[in-house]
Each structure stands twice: as structure tokens, then as C-alpha cells.
Amino acid sequence: MNDRLKRRKTRLFAVIAVTAVMVCSSLTWRQAHLQAQVPDQTDASHPLSDCGRCHTCANPRPGNLCLPVCSRMQVRTAEFKQQQGPDFVLLDIIRSEDEGVDRFGPVPFDHSGHADFAAISGGCELCHHYTPERQAHPSCRTCHPPELQRDDIQKPSLKGAYHRQCMGCHREWSHNTRCDACHIQKIGEEPGVITAEDALGHMTPPIPEPETEIYEPRSEPTIGTKVIFRHAEHIHRFEFKCAECHRGDNCARCHEAGKKHVQKIRTMGEHHQDCSNCHAKDVAEGGNCARCHWSEGQPSPLPFDHTATGWPLSRFHKDKSCRGCHKKIPYTALDHDCGSCHTDWEPDTFDHAVTRQILDENHSEFDCEDCHEDGAFDKPPTCTECHDEDEGIAFPAMRPGPVVKP
């Protein structure tokens, strides 16, 4: 009896237990399945679903679109000219929100300095990215309000806009996010009148200029394994400004000279772009590759020699700047006729003393062609018009007047 009861109870117990386990597992997995289907609660935010995001009135129509001033991120209708803007701007609109405490002070901004270098990367419109029609140069505040908490969170506030604009470049080359790199930090006292001098004091340290760069092209060299570029020659002798060659360049290339910087892989054309602006003929098919390329073990290409152009520079021209004569970039061959450059040299007004040869009374009244046959001013003059060569009167042994000591 006892045993039977015991058996029955055990059986009942087992049945309940097993049922429970089965029910439990099946339900758990059903639940897990339900939980996997999380309702998708995305996207009531498509711009087309909300006209009021752009249009300020209920019924925009052609002619009256009710678009706010800053409707788009980027608009450009005006061409900027370098040096068009002010030389110096004091940025002092934003005050720190802390009651009465301005932690960082205003920023003296050297506009002309930035404009000079703007061409290297981005141009004026890098900063002046929004110039809608009839608003040649809206102030930053037009779109970027100075308040930190604002209705329109699409665009950064004035503070954010300034810092993104400035730090975007500055941190790239200086790796420096120090506040006092731009701000005149107030330490206790009023800084007094802030002038452009304060901005200059914040300028970047001088950049070391490379003298001569020698590259070893990674691609299969067909015309020599090395390439020479005389950087110093280009800036000091040819007088190129940074922005004339460096366009859209990586800041670190100059600001961190010596440090290996990663450059993207470029095509042959892209590789030669910087040079071909001037050296178009050399770079072109059948050009003079040896101008820059040479092979190991051979002498490297020589620096530029003006004589090779067929015009050895005389004492008058050798100290002149390239741009004194070659007005256009790239530099091209000039007419040998003096008048082609010295347009102001007229026979009536010409002062022969500039050639260091003063004409004495006897010679001063001659026409140019009397001595300079056929107007060949680059050749020694002939005296045979008046003088007999047999008497030993010839240039330069005998001169038509005193010589100016250099």
C-alpha cells in the first residue's frame, strides 16, 4: 500500500516535472523569439517630410520661396581677390558663459597673413564658404549665432564655427590645441589695446626650407633612378612664393619637414603636375627628362644656367631678379631687343650713364646707330664711322668718355 502510493506519487511528480520543463523551454524560446523582433522606431526625420525645416512660410511659391538666409551649407557667388579684405580683425564677440569670467580672452586675427597662404589649401572660400547672391560677404554671425543653446542646432554656434574653421587646419600642422596659440589669455589684468602686433606674436615659427631634395621614384624608373629638385633655387633665385607651387598641399609637408608623411598614391600626371606648370615642355612626351632625372653613378643635373638659354647674363642682368625681366609664369624666352623690356629707353631721353659708360661732349650728340651698328646693343660698338682703325682708336681700348666705377 505504502509502496503503491509512493510509486504513484513519484510518477505524478515526474510527469509534472517533465511537463513543466517542456512548457518552460518552449515558452522561453517563444519569448526569446518575440524579443528578437524589436519594433523599428526609426526615421520620422526625413527632410522631405518636414517642409518647415527650410521654408519659413506655409505656402512657398516661385518668387517667394521663404527661404532663410542660411538655407544651405555652401553657396558661392562671388570671386574673392587676395588682399581684398582687412589686414587685421579682432575677434572678441564671444564671451565665456561663465558669469563675469572670460577664461580665454579675444583673438587677434591676422587676416592678410591667412589670405596669403589661403591658396595653398582651399582658398578664401575655405572660410568664406557662404556668399549668397547680393550678400557678397555676410558676417559669420548671420548664420552662426553666438549662443551655445540655440533653436537651430543644424549649424554650430559662432564659437564652434570659429574653432572648427581654425583648428581644422591649425591642429593639422601644429599638433597643438593650446588656447593661447590664438587667444590672448587674460591673466589678472586687462590686456589693453590689441593690435596687429599681438597677432604677429602668435605666428607659427619659421618653417625650415629644404635646400635640395632628391627623390627616388617608387615606380619603375625608365629614365634614371633619381630625381633632383632644388627647392632653395626655386624660392630664392626664381622667387616663387609658396602658394604658387603648393596648391591643395598637405600642411605637414612643410610644417613637419623631415617627418615621414603619408601621401596618397598618385598617377604619373599627378606626380608631375607641380613641375609641369612651368616645365611643361620638359615633362611632355619627348621632353627633356634629364632636367631632373638622372641615374645613380652619373653626375646629377646641374642647376639652372642662364647661358644655356642662349643669353649669358651680362653684368647688368646677372643680379636682376628673374621676375624683373620675366613678368609671366612660367618664365619664357625674351626678345633680345633691349627695347622689348626697356620700353622707356628713347634716344632723346636715354641717359647712357646707366651702362656705366658716360659719353663725353664729343659723343653725346650721336645717334645710337652711329656706334651701335644695326641696333645690336649687345655687341661692342664700332668706332669706324668717324675714327680710323689704323690710328688704334677702337673699343674698348679707347672709350667715348669716362667710366662709372661700379
Binding site: 506519487k9 515526474a14 516535472a17 520543463v21 518552460c24 523551454s25 522561453t28 524560446w29 519569448q31 526569446a32
Partner: protein, 397 residues
């Protein structure tokens, strides 16, 4: 059904060599307690860090402590609720183990808490959404239930003690009252145990991204409950045989052998649910990943569940004291390992740069707590009527 043997105090010499060892371990723990609470705090005493906020004090002292104290409610349910009078002999030792176990869980928790003086806060600051709150509140209630269940044992001891007539009178008055209402507490004990044993398994489910998929399952609480059912009787078997060995009395195989049949059932059930869960979730793919977690899981399941299950299938093993002891021990260690795996090994914080290895102090406290528990257990069975054994009665008579 065996004839009733009344429980009596063991009445053996208390101070033995083993007891001295326990005292030394307990004393070391006491020193560390002073060091931890008065001088260095958690930073100096533990190797816990920002990524591993829980160490062995939680995974062993608390989580494992709760699991191993499951013998109390399983035995009480069997003996008192299902009225298997046959097992009354083991009800009291199991109750004592549970009572001490939970008490030491509380003490262990005090070590781990940053502000142990606030340990009572859950009683007033209820937070029904918190799994830990449920665990905490149930443990507190159950601890009180256990103390009430233990009260008759104390009363029995003192009701005839002529040295304290007032206490004896009070005990005599209390005993019949307790006897009448005890069934309420016994049932409450089982309900509370089921609740917190299962909720304990729900603790880590809140951190699915850190919890290794081998253990992270929505039915983790069911698994914890089933493993508590599973480990209850083996713990009683282990402890009964160990006590018998300590006091040099014969293990009561006629009680323990049939008890192991229940264990066989619960072990099989646990194994089945665990394997089913693994198959459904597909978590078996992690078994071969070669990580410490995969090995820990394999060892836990193989030696902690599967091997003892197949051992217990054999009646010969169930009736052989030594082999039964081994099987019970394997199950106990398996559950220990499971708790440590869930709370420590399976916890993989994503930003951890160093892994957690318990400090010497943490280990010493954990050992010390175990030693103190055994010491108190021995003291209580020596002086209070807990163990009923024919040998002891015969000796007394």
C-alpha cells in the same frame, strides 16, 4: 521505515587537532577582517578592479554559499512537506548547515560590501525591479525562517537544564507553540528558497554583453533552481558522511542510499535541461573555442554533472559509502564550479586589460569563512541535539 532515533548532542571532546587548525584559519580571517575594515578597505585587501567588481567573495562566499545551503530546504521539503519520516534523521543537520551557510553568506557579503554598515538598506529601500533586491530580501526572510526552525533544537537542549530555570521554563512554554506553527515556516522556507535560488541565476542575465554565451541563457534562473535541487541531497550526503568520519561513527547508508535516488532524478533533470538549452541556443559551438571558458564549462558539465549522474545510475555505487561519497562530492564541486563559472569565469568585461586573480587576503577570508563555519557546526552538534544516530544513542545510554 526505520525506527525513530532521537537527536542528541554528540558530546565528544571538542578540541582536536583538526579543530585547532580550524581555529588558526578562523583567527587569520579575523586578522584580515580588522585589516580590511579598519585600515586598507577593499583596495588593499582585494584584487578587485573597475572591470571586475565581483571576485571570489561574491562568487564563492555568497553565490556558492547559497547554493550549497540548498540541502536545508530540499531536506525539509522531503522530510516535512512530503512527510518522508525516514529522512527525519538528516533534517536537523541539514537545517543546521543551511542556517550556518546563510549566516556565513551574510558575513561574507559584509566583507565584500563597500559600505557594509548599509547592509540593512534593502529592507527599507525597496526596489522591485532589481533582481538582487529579490535575492536579498528572500535571503533575509529565509535566514529568519531558518533561525525560527532552529529554535526548537535550542529549546530542547535547555528545557531540562536546571542551571537556567527561567530559560527552561520559557523553552518549555515555547516548544509546543513552535510545534504548532512550524509547518508555516517550513513551507515558507521552501518557497523563499525556490525564489532566491532561481533569482540568483537571473543576476548575470542583465549583462548579456559581458556574460559568456555558454552560460548566458534566459532560463539561467531555472538552471540555478534545478542545480539547487540537485546539490541539496549530495551536500547532505557529503556532510553526513564527513561528520560520521569525524566523529568515527558509521555512515547511515540506509538513509543516504535512498536519498541518492532523488539526486539521480534531479541530476538527470538538470543535465537534460542544460543540454536542451545548449542545443536550442546553439551555444555548443563555443565548446571548441579553446578558451578557459570552454574548458571550465566542459569540466563543470562532465565531472560535475554527467559523471556523477552515470555513477548514481548504478545501485552498487549508491550503496557503497566510498563511491557514493565521491559521487556526492563531484556534484557538490560541480555546482561550486558552476557558480564560480557564472559569476567569475564567464564574466568577460569588454575593456578589461588585466584579468582578476584573487588576492591572498581574499583566498584566506574565503577559507577562513569555511573553517569558521565548520568550527561553529562542530560546536553546535557537540552541545545541541542535532545529530541522530543509533551509535550515539547507544553510547549515551
Amino acid at each position: 521505515m526505520s525506527e525513530h532515533v532521537l537527536p542528541v548532542p554528540v558530546n565528544r571532546k571538542f578540541f582536536t587537532r583538526g579543530v585547532f587548525l580550524l581555529i588558526v584559519l578562523a583567527a587569520i580571517m579575523a586578522c584580515i577582517a580588522v585589516y580590511r575594515f579598519l585600515f586598507v578597505g577593499l583596495a588593499g585587501a582585494t584584487n578587485l578592479n573597475q572591470e571586475y567588481p565581483w571576485g571570489i567573495w561574491i562568487s564563492i562566499d555568497v553565490a556558492t554559499g547559497v547554493a550549497l545551503a540548498a540541502g536545508g530546504f530540499t531536506t525539509a521539503t522531503l522530510a516535512h512537506i512530503f512527510h518522508r519520516e525516514h529522512y527525519h534523521a538528516i533534517a536537523r543537520p541539514a537545517l543546521l548547515t543551511a542556517m550556518l551557510g546563510y549566516t556565513f553568506v551574510g558575513i561574507g557579503l559584509m566583507f565584500d560590501l563597500g559600505r557594509p554598515y548599509n547592509i540593512w538598506h534593502p529592507i527599507i529601500l525597496w526596489h522591485g525591479n532589481s533582481v538582487l533586491f529579490e535575492v536579498g530580501l528572500c535571503v533575509v526572510c529565509y535566514l529568519n525562517v531558518l533561525y525560527i526552525e532552529f529554535l526548537p533544537i535550542v529549546c530542547e537542549r535547555f528545557q531540562d537544564d536546571l542551571r537556567f530555570p527561567a530559560i527552561a521554563r520559557y523553552c518549555k512554554w515555547l516548544l509546543p507553540i513552535l510545534g504548532k506553527v512550524m509547518f508555516l515556516f517550513v513551507i515558507a522556507g521552501t518557497v523563499l528558497s525556490c525564489l532566491h535560488q532561481s533569482s540568483l541565476g537571473n543576476l548575470m542575465v542583465i549583462a548579456p554583453s559581458k556574460f559568456h554565451d555558454l552560460w548566458d541563457t534566459p532560463i539561467c534562473s531555472l538552471l540555478f533552481l534545478l542545480s539547487a535541487f540537485m546539490v541539496g541531497f549530495p551536500m547532505v550526503i557529503f556532510e553526513s558522511m564527513y561528520t560520521a568520519w569525524c566523529f568515527k561513527i558509521k555512515p547511515e547508508m540506509e538513509i543516504l542510499s535512498p536519498l541518492s535516488k532523488y539526486t539521480l532524478f534531479f541530476t538527470g533533470l538538470y543535465l537534460a535541461v542544460k543540454v536542451t538549452d545548449m542545443l536550442i541556443r546553439g551555444s555548443y559551438v563555443y565548446l571548441t573555442e579553446g578558451s578557459i571558458q570552454s574548458y571550465a564549462f566542459t569540466v563543470e558539465m562532465l565531472f560535475g554533472v554527467a559523471v556523477p549522474f552515470f555513477m548514481l545510475l548504478s545501485p552498487k555505487i549508491r550503496n557503497t559509502p566510498r563511491l557514493l561519497f565521491i559521487a556526492a562530492l563531484l556534484i557538490v564541486l560541480g555546482v561550486v564550479m558552476n557558480r564560480v563559472n557564472v559569476f567569475l569565469i564567464g564574466y568577460q568585461p569588454p575593456y578589461a586589460t588585466v584579468s582578476y586573480i584573487p588576492s591572498i587576503f581574499e583566498v584566506a577570508v574565503t577559507i577562513g569563512l569555511g573553517a569558521t563555519l565548520m568550527l561553529v557546526y562542530r560546536a553546535i552538534v557537540t552541545f545541541l541535539p542535532v545529530i541522530s544516530h543509533p551509535d550515539l544513542v547507544a553510547r549515551k545510554a
